[in-house]
Symmetry: D2
């Protein structure tokens, strides 16, 4: 029996809207095994019924609880395309750099210029900051978004910033090329669903206490709403060890790469909380197969409003990129 | 110098709006040490400036990063008052009982009747469910809220249900006496702030990976917006041990009681994931000083749509309450 | 086929030597299911062969990896009998009290007198101390054993002390009524085997990172050598939380009691590292079903050579015992 | 004041016995700062007194609790020299390979031949096995040592095997070039002290729940007895994540290299429990600065008596070495 003939999904599939996501359209048309259709079960009652009545369909369920994120559905790596000819998930290892918080125009322009020169591909900066304490600096808000955008445009860098509140999605999506979900919101399912309804690439950080399977299920929340441009980010998990702020789970990279087609990047700054560890952990991440790095770079770490201790100066970042280049080439990739 | 004379805060304090929270108004008027004013620093620039210029004020900062939640500010236990003469944080140990998910009118009415008879004080039930997978049952939504309200009203039980999305706050606040923040949203700061702007009591569950200090800081997000009716809930943390779903951190009860005036309850159902452990863990929680218990009770655990394995039948719940009663009395409290 | 007739194990069973362990002898004689014989497979080739050739025998293996420690073999609680009419695992909740380190005769005599008066049943004290650093105080050695024995004898208290080195077993067994295995040696299998060959009761502390199943397997090392007098001790596990030195795994008590017939006690002093938490955690442990408590009591905590911060003064210990008494009675036990 | 003149330590220093450890002798003679003498404080009362009376001496104490292991004492990397011109801690990244358990002569000879050919420098194999269960295969004992020695000699490979019981040290030291301390014995202080009194190099594995500081303190137990040939091994820590058997703490490599002069190697086999992860984790370890790798290689993983799932076949090991070679060169080292 050919499912395709019975149910011409192609036209109404939400997944056909994404440029660069053509494989997904193909998948939803070609498969006759039924696995994929589980995905649509909240949208189309006919399909749900078909899946439920078809024995073959249900057999995938115990295999993996996530479906669209899985390699069972799509075995070629997903590449997320960004402006300025930047992409994440392809041959190039993507370098995302910038300060923890956006603090001033001068800071952003200087940092953008220097990280671009050093080889960064994407500019990061926080405008809305998730802080444990309500009394800590909460970010510059829209004013910060404007400065980030301006600095990115000036130096040809796509930009990324965090979304804390679903209400801010329209505003942030207006400015930012990538929408970031922080570790503390990794299982904020209502935020994930709403991000799944935007067309913007989403960088999803693993929670401090989130298992690899839960991370993939959180990605599935975004994917199942029709947004296939998801980038996963390992940023350290909580353990008993106190020498580092978190414990970088380096094994998560090959484990994730085997389970999902989504790109996987690493944030050694938050994982370690110590700028002296960023270079060796960046090398390790690339050697383990990471598709990119997200690194805190601040033009004046001593005076940074947050996370100064884990920020590199632009000059040190540049020297690190130089040492990562031959390593990246040995891994068969470019930087 | 008497701060009171200089800055008559009483009138504009958001804390004066809460019934039963009179101590907070008193505090903001009486103190001359300055500690409390840090709290208002995002609202009133004059006060912020005063705190910054006054040496005595700043000394409290390193002591505890949370202020309104702290016993430094208020040393008498906070009692959260609910309809039907129920309260949490007073002499009575409060029993919250009900199913994980609201599934049908029959289920809710039968469960409400039985738990009321067994001695429960508050009825719980999930209408919006946080599920790791987007394909798992997500709850009945508003229809569920209606059934929960109906069952609570029929048997004279205040009700509690979880808020997943800040957009649902007005809807849920219309039905529910307590608004619950789940473990996964413990550091969803934008949700916490918005809950702080409602007058409704909030039950804040500790995240699986949240430290005690971070839990208190999350409570501070709610308190600092003017809502003093916060109940903390220990529900198990993630560790390496796999015999139980999570590890109930029993020490968190006396540690929290020493640090904060807020009531502290325990959820042995989620902590253990095993109904056979609920009775001994409930006894332990009361013996350690907990102000209440939140327990999953389902009239038919075998057919429950979620968490059946950790649900007690109403009859077993009743027998457990009977054994808890003399223990509670020995602890100088009532059940 | 009746295994009993073929192999009269009773005579040579090492388990028949233990007074109060008669059930074990019965078991090794009566069973015809074969499960138990796995235990002897390193000792008697005929039995091993029998088990391997007999299909029925092998079926127990996947059920639990530990056998002698399991309730499958013996469903009545094991009671460990000590001098001075003290026992652990019966109706009485056993109180073990004393200093972390033995420091002087005066200290031991005074502490012994006071804890006896307060209601303690067993006197503890470290003569050989496991210290993270080789430069920290390592204990008084044999001189300490002598002082501990003298104090125990003077006040009618059985004594317990830790064995760090298997070479010291004969010496320590000469003095001490119970041999303690510390958390760091919980999987020191060669030490466990050698303790299994003594007739002395062994108190086995759970390692900071030992699962409940591993703890039972470590007990099995002692049991399988013929020593059935094993007491298990929960003393906190390592987690991310830093408010307490370790996280007391209160659930381990009911989980262990369901799986094993061995007595289970709790050490709230090491679990919390804070004397202020000892009383609530002791109450919780008894409420959860613990068979005893091991508590650090020092006549002068401020000057203690180690762990002063987690030690109670004898007076506070006495007041705590007073408050534990009615709670213990409610639990159907005595103190 | 010159300490050297007052106390000619050189003659009686236990550290002068070690070949290749000349810096240590130099240090114990030259220093006048007093830091080093803390080390000897259990041996020589005069020195202890000197340290206590000398203000300069005491200042080092709060800095690091370990001394001989610290870079404060010796800033050049320690190189451990082995037979057959192999060393650990120098320019060459050392590859230790072989089966978990020694099972037969054929297995050892074939494995030794193949791993030598593939580029391994040291042969590993367990003769005494630490097993959670007393009923699991415990190793071949001395017969296994003989086979390991024979295989090592036949192919020019130094050998390493684990010591479980201090009583076996003389026997094992007769056969093995390196004595291994397993993760479960990482804080078995009496074993560590006795290994410190042998002249044999010791490979000390980090415990599953041992902090980096505790690992260094455990090394200090060996060093302070006069054995300076200590190699540290990161082999994964216990966390909540279950995709891998343990979580490889990759950050421990640069953290340890900054704190200690001792060589640091990585065991990706035990860290992951999955042969498919060994290649990416080995690459990551070398990129992070590891001085060597310890890898389980078995000629027939399917029939291995233990840990088959984490063992590489010799052919796969060979291909992995080929891919590690250019990476190692980029790191400025050789393989």
């Amino acid at each position: 029996m050919n499912l395709l003939k019975e149910m011409p999904l192609t036209e109404e599939s939400p997944h056909t809207k994404q440029g660069g996501m053509k494989e997904f359209r193909t998948f939803s048309v070609h498969t006759s095994k039924g696995e994929a259709f589980t995905v649509f079960n909240t949208k189309n009652k006919e399909i749900t019924q078909f899946v439920e009545n078809n024995e073959a369909c249900s057999t995938i369920r115990p295999a993996v609880p996530y479906i669209l994120a899985s390699r069972l559905i799509k075995d070629t790596p997903t590449v997320v395309y960004l402006p300025h000819n930047v992409s994440i998930g392809g041959t190039q290892v993507c370098l995302i750099a910038g300060p923890c918080s956006i603090e001033s125009e001068e800071q952003m322009m200087e940092t953008a210029r220097k990280v671009k020169l050093a080889g960064a591909h994407v500019l990061r900066g926080g405008a809305f900051k998730p802080r444990s304490s309500p009394y800590a600096f909460q970010g510059m808000g829209e004013e910060g978004l404007l400065l980030l955008r301006k600095a990115g445009d000036a130096y040809g860098l796509p930009i990324i910033t965090e979304v804390l509140d679903a209400d801010d999605i329209p505003l942030i999506a207006e400015y930012s090329d990538i929408l970031q979900v922080g570790a503390r919101n990794c299982q904020n399912f209502s935020l994930l669903k709403k991000l799944g309804r935007t067309g913007r690439p989403v960088l999803l950080k693993r929670g401090m206490m989130t298992t690899i399977e839960e991370l993939l299920l959180s990605a599935e929340y975004i994917l199942s709403e029709g947004n296939m441009n998801v980038i996963l980010c390992e940023r350290g998990i909580r353990t008993f060890e106190t020498e580092t702020r978190n414990t970088l789970d380096i094994s998560a990279i090959p484990v994730l790469k085997a389970k999902t087609h989504l790109p996987v990047i690493v944030d050694p700054s938050h994982a370690s909380g110590d700028w002296k560890l960023i270079a060796p952990l960046s090398s390790a991440a690339i050697a383990a197969g990471a598709d990119g790095l997200m690194i805190e770079v601040h033009n004046s770490p001593e005076t940074a409003l947050c996370d100064g201790n884990q920020s590199l100066k632009p000059e040190k970042f540049g020297r690190m990129v130089d040492t990562l280049t031959p390593l990246t080439e040995v891994m068969g990739r470019t930087l």
